[in-house]
Every structure is written in C-alpha cells, then in structure tokens.
Amino acid sequence: MKQLDVSAIKDGSVIDHIDSKSTLKVADILNIKAEEDVVLVGMNLTSKYLGKKGIIKIGGKILDQKEVNKIALIAPNATVNIIKDYEVVKKFEVVVPEVIEGIVKCFNPNCISNYGNTKAKQHLINKNPIKLRCHYCERVMGANDIVLI
C-alpha cells in the first residue's frame, strides 16, 4: 500500500507498534490534546507481528525516557523513534518503570488511593507478564486490571 504523504514528520517522535486497541490510550498518556504542532494518529494499520497496530507521530516533541516508560504499561511492544530532519536519530525501548506514580488507578475499590487526594502508586513486581503491586493496599494487578487515571 502506498504511504500517505502526511505520514512523514520533519522533527518529533514516532510511536510505532502500539497494540491497535490501545492507541487512543497512548495518545491520552502523551496528552496530545495539548500539542500545537502536527499530530498524526493511525489505527488498525497492518502489522506483520501484531495483526493490527496503531501509530502516533508527534511533530516538534521529543519524548524522554520517562514518558516512554509510561507507554510501556499499556503498549509493551511499542517502539519509539526520535526524528530530526526526517532521519531517525534515536530509538527507545519501552521499559516499565519500577515505581509507577499517578498513572494507574488501583483496581481495589476499598483502597485508600481511590479516596481524597492520594496519588495512586504501584511497584513493578513482574515484567512479563506485567504485575504491579499497589503501594497502599498491596493488591496485585495484572495486565487486564490496569486502568489508567
């Protein structure tokens, strides 16, 4: 299939190989609503590995490792390329951080982090499959329990 002309960005970040269903969540995490430069979001694109994949391109924005790591929680297969002058100048692997703060909602309704102004916080206890332990109530969440704030 011929690529669309709009798909290339001059400077910025490209997040590729997102599990298609998670594309808009990733877009949310990266807060693309606030961007003023070009943003392209593609879903249900054909992927050899994932079947269907999502892709996000953000003009003018260079993601740092911390932002990349947030993505890892919901798109563990994602790759991140930093573009300068249409060339890839840096590639990131996504890595789930050891401590996750203010990103994932605790799935336990009786957890103190779901009340008042407490910021949710989890510790990574297993990478693959992903398992997070709530800092407060100690309940263990798997991939299916993860809901982003």
Binding site: N108, N110, C111, I112, S113, Y115, G116, N117, T118, C134, H135, Y136, C137, E138, R139, V140
Partner: protein
C-alpha cells in the same frame, strides 16, 4: 546490626526472616525481663477509625506497662474526621502531639499513607482486609514459644481462607521457615490464587483439602478462623459447612492427631472451637491473645529506640 528505631510497621511483606527473628527475640526479652520505665514520657496516639476493642486495649496495656501514655480515639464517629477532615490532615496534626502512631482504618493502605506523610513511626493495627502485622508477629511468637521452633513445621489453616487476612500474612511469614502448609476450607472460601502462587514461588509445599480427614494426624499446628454466615448465599450450605469445620476434643481424638498438636485462633470465636477444647493441651488461643502484650511492647520499645 538490625535496628527498628523510627521504623514504620505496616506490612509483613516489609520484614525479612532476620528481622522477624530479631523481633521475636526482643519479645522474649520483654516477657522474661521486667522492664517498667523505659517508655516514660513517651506518648502513643491510638487512632482507631474503625473500632477494635481488643487490639486497642492490647496496645494501650503494652504502652502503659512500660510507663508510656496513650491518647487517641476508639472510633471516628465523634471526631472531626467524620465531618470530612481527611486522614492525612488528621495524622499531620496529631503527629505534633505524640511519639508514635497506632492506626486502624477501614480502608486498605491507610497506614501506609499515614507513614508516608508523618515523621513519627506508624504501626498498622489493621487496614481493611489487608494487613495486621502485630497479629502476625504474635502468631509467630506463639508458635515459636509452644513448639520450640518455627522451622519445618506442618501447619494447617482451617476455615475462611479467602477473607482471613491473618491467614494470608501468617502463611507468608511462615514461608521463610520451611513450613509445609495445608489449606483446609470449603470450595468457596479457598486461599486466593495470588497468595497460592506467591507461596509456590517461594517453594512452599502447599496442599489444599476440604476436610481434616487424613490430614489432621500429620499436623503440628491448626490455625482456625471463623466462617461467617454472610459469605454463603444459602443458609443450608452454611449449616453444612459449619459442622465440618468445627473442632472439639472428640473430633480431634477421632482424627488421631498428634499429642502435641496446638490449636490457634485469632479470636473472637463463635462456635468453631467447642469449649471442650479449652482446658486441653491442644488449646493455646488464650495464650496466643496474651502474647499480644509482649509483642506490642517489643514493637513500641524498638521503634521508639529505647531497646536495641
């Protein structure tokens, strides 16, 4: 060198084997030596957002026996907390009045939140269905004291293993000591999968069963819990189960249990242990409750830094 000075006591998950043994050792010293004035001038704030008379009195007694003072409340109904003051505001204020906080709360994670906010040590006296570490310490102390060791015992957990937080924490702690564990419960109240996986990851020999038949005679300790009627949709089902998980002297003898088998229970009981057991060598549940005092003395004295 292990020191608990200024340490928060929130969850059994935060303690390794050496630290548990250290705490049990201090507990033994607390029981054998007459310490009286070591907490003179210290103030404990007992903040019970959910009532628990036994636990509160046990902490108060431990503190007062060592000449310390206690402030606080037994339930949040009459305080400003009920009027919407947040937990974090309450503990920030009360921190200025005391040297240590003992906190019980109906929400899970409350003690951890308090500990993250204040500088005085926080002791968790129960956070929802999550943790109650001083109960686990006293359970361990009771086993060590009556069996002479914690190593390599065969422990049966009986009753409600799904909601029983004392069982979850004790099983986790005993995993350090090479215990072989038997989980005996009705099918709807089995040990949660997460805990079973965790125990297996830690190479604990685990067995599950629905009755003590064939298993009872192997055990060194049976840890009973209460089965609550509200866990059953059908009252007839509950009546059946209640009969199966009830212990009495004749039932134990019928199972051919070891002479030195010990029966524990976090109390209060309803009728899961017949009174015919009370005077026997099997029953150690009242002693277990009494052990709460030296254990809590040991925790208070170590976190306040007056005992090394």
């Amino acid at each position: 060198m292990i020191s608990f000075k200024q340490r928060d006591v929130i969850s059994i998950l935060h303690f390794n084997k050496e630290e548990l043994l250290y705490l049990l050792d201090v507990t033994k010293r607390m029981e054998q030596t007459h310490y009286s004035h070591i907490l003179k001038g210290k103030v404990l704030a007992a903040l019970f957002f959910e009532p628990s008379t036994r636990t509160r009195l046990s902490f108060e007694t431990a503190m007062k026996r060592l000449d310390g003072m206690v402030i606080g409340f037994a339930e949040s109904g009459a305080t400003s907390i009920a009027k919407g003051e947040s937990l974090s505001d309450s503990v920030k204020t009360i921190e200025g009045y005391c040297d240590v906080i003992v906190l019980r709360h109906y929400l899970e994670g409350a003690a951890q939140l308090a500990a993250d906010i204040v500088n005085v040590p926080v002791i968790n006296a129960g956070d929802g269905s999550n943790q109650h570490p001083t109960q686990t310490f006293l359970d361990l102390y009771t086993i060590q004291k009556t069996k002479g060791t914690l190593e390599g015992l065969k422990i049966g957990f009986l009753g409600d293993l799904k909601y029983g937080r004392t069982v979850h924490s004790l099983a986790y702690a005993l995993a350090y000591f090479g215990a072989e564990m038997y989980f005996i419960s009705p099918p709807n109240l089995r040990m949660p999968k997460d805990y079973m996986e965790e125990l297996k990851n830690r190479h604990v020999a685990c067995h599950e069963a629905e009755s003590l038949q064939d298993i009872g005679k192997r055990l060194d300790v049976i840890y009973c819990t209460r089965i609550q009627e509200e866990r059953f949709a059908d009252p007839i089902e509950f009546e059946k189960v209640r009969g199966i998980y009830r212990l009495s002297k004749p039932i134990l003898e019928g199972l051919g249990v070891k002479d030195d088998l010990k029966i524990m229970h976090p109390l209060p009981r309803v009728d899961e242990m017949d009174e015919s057991l009370d005077g026997t060598n099997y029953a150690i549940y009242f002693e277990q409750a009494r052990n709460g005092i030296p254990v809590r003395k040991a925790i208070l004295a170590t976190v306040l830094g007056v005992i090394e």
